[in-house]
């Protein structure tokens, strides 16, 4: 076959490539919000769940109980979640929340994981672990987010909840998929 045919095909290929590069969004990545809506929703759910879970050391009679929340590492999720908590704090909601890294020595009451833990990092016993996705697995996860029909849903593992001696409001259970 002639070189002319090859050149024509290559020209068409280059044309298509240029077309599709040019179809990319015009704005730069730096203009974009670093956190997707999906993760913002996860952060909002993660905060909302607190109202529906009673920890063993939590008492309705002592609303000032401090709840230790652990996050895995510094991510846009943490920044957004801290902003959510600040907003909540401004309204005077209880219990008081203390956000820390999982790597810090303090114990955790409530933990958000976006990736599985290495075995040596296992510090999740005795606290409620919320898993960012059902695409990852982590032993001991009590709540797991999943997507159905482009909406965020969550699954509650009642056995794990009971093992951790927490109680979950029936309102929350009605909205969850029960494992």
């Amino acid at each position: 076959m002639s070189w002319i045919c090859r050149i024509r095909f290559a020209a068409v290929a280059v044309l298509f490539f240029v077309l599709f590069v040019s179809l990319r969004p015009a704005h730069a990545a730096s203009d974009q919000d670093p956190l997707s809506k999906e993760n913002k929703l996860k952060a909002a759910y993660f905060l909302n769940f607190i109202e529906f879970i009673n920890w063993p050391n939590d008492s309705q009679n002592s609303p000032a109980t401090l709840l230790y929340i652990c996050l895995q590492d510094e991510t846009p999720f943490e920044e957004f979640f801290r902003a959510l908590v600040e907003n909540r704090r401004a309204k005077g909601s209880k219990p008081e929340l203390k956000i820390q890294r999982l790597s810090e020595p303090n114990h955790c009451d409530y933990t958000y994981l976006h990736q599985p833990l290495a075995e040596e990092d296992l510090k999740i016993n005795g606290n409620i672990v919320v898993l960012a996705s059902d695409q990852i697995s982590q032993q001991g996860a009590a709540i797991t987010f999943f997507i159905a029909d482009r909406k965020l849903r969550f699954e509650i593992d009642l056995d794990t909840m009971q093992k951790n001696q927490v109680t979950v409001s029936s309102e929350l259970l009605k909205l969850a998929r029960i494992k």
Binding site: C5, F9, F20, Q32, K37, A83, F146, D149, K151, R153
Partner: protein, 359 residues
């Protein structure tokens, strides 16, 4: 005939990614999310309105280089030597049968450069146009004087495929897609070259043609498990219609493919796959390829009955997100079982490199 060897189903149906059509509300700031109750959160789509409208183009694009090599002979699943397939001539005492030939192909090499463009009309409907450019080469040995060894080549645009895909269902665990297409006769079936049949250029055998010469209908149904195990299974068929201008129709082909993706990281995703392919032999015959009876086929690749069969192939690859939404995938595959209407040249290996910008 190139399309009967480099199975077009593999590159025609590239069902990829997810698309966003529902844009939901426009909450963005922490205070807006903090105001939302659980009931309101449940109503929210995960689709980011900003990224859905601007970041995610409805266009997809891929460019793939796919190669395959065929060498040695199989009759059924039995190896047959080149000596057995090559007829030694009238003076040798070896009887001529319909299983030996005066001309025998050695190695067949095929390379396809495949350009595919897709458009997502909405969350459920997608369209694709796929155009291949094919290069192929076959070397031969023969008992014909002056043609003891010779090569034939052909190259050019193959058959273009226009297809539509419809998402049958999509749950948190899995989705199903149905794809139906039309293969258009943009590839020629009149490639010529110098063969021992006569001096000068003559019609080349089926394997060296670039198109099927008929309107064909690729159909595929695929299942993608999105759970802990990322598995895709696809059942596909390529249904040929009518008879082309050279009085033949390539055989229908059917395939069942499976692929398992490992999610070691978001950037690098290795995968393994297993394919089962079956194709019919050719119906009808190109009369210009025949010689005098009682054995009218000078080479196995001119006998329409010596095409098709069953192949089971294993493949492994890795997909790398090189930049933003652009992925580079490299794949190698090798048949682990072949049962061919033979004697027929068996597939040795195949490989592909693909750059894509999925939906």
């Amino acid at each position: 005939m190139a399309t009967s060897r480099i199975a077009p189903l593999r590159w025609t149906f590239t069902v990829v990614g997810m698309m966003c059509s529902s844009y939901g509300l426009s909450q963005s700031t922490p205070s807006e999310f903090a105001e939302m109750s659980l009931a309101e959160l449940l109503e929210q789509s995960i689709d980011d309105p900003y990224s859905s409208r601007q970041d995610k183009s409805p266009w997809s694009f891929s460019f793939q280089r796919s190669s395959a090599e065929f060498e040695d002979f199989l009759d059924g699943d039995n190896r047959v030597s080149e000596d057995e397939v090559l007829w030694s001539g009238p003076n040798s005492g070896e009887p001529r049968t319909d299983k030996n030939f005066p001309v025998v192909p050695g190695k067949i090499t095929q390379t396809a450069y495949i350009l595919s463009v897709g458009y997502a009309f909405d969350d459920r409907w997608r369209g694709h146009i796929t155009v291949p450019y094919i290069e192929q080469n076959t070397d031969h040995i023969s008992i014909v004087p002056n043609y003891a060894t010779f090569e034939i080549d052909s190259s050019g645009v193959g058959d273009a495929v226009v297809s539509a895909s419809y998402k049958l269902s999509d749950t948190e665990r899995a989705n199903w897609w149905l794809t139906v297409g039309l293969s258009i006769t943009t590839g020629t079936i009149d490639e010529e070259g110098d063969t021992p049949r006569a001096p000068g250029d003559q019609q080349l055998p089926y394997t060296m043609q670039l198109g099927s010469g008929t309107y064909d209908f690729p159909i595929q149904i695929s299942y993608h498990n999105k759970g802990e195990h990322d598995v895709t299974i696809a059942l596909a068929a390529l249904i040929r219609s009518g008879t082309n201008d050279n009085d033949y129709r390539l055989g229908n082909s059917y395939s069942l493919t499976g692929r398992y993706n490992f999610h070691f990281s978001e950037i690098l995703q290795p995968y393994i796959g297993l394919d089962i392919d079956y194709s019919d032999s050719i119906h009808g015959a190109d009369e210009s390829l025949k010689t005098a009876p009682p054995f009218p086929y000078p080479a196995p690749i001119t006998d329409p009955d010596l095409f098709g069969g069953t192949k089971i192939g294993a493949r492994a690859g890795i997909s790398w997100q090189v930049y933003d939404n652009y992925r580079l995938a490299v794949e190698v595959g090798k048949p682990i079982y072949q049962n061919l209407n033979g004697p027929q040249t068996r597939e040795d290996w195949r490989s592909s490199v693909k750059i894509s910008r999925p939906f």
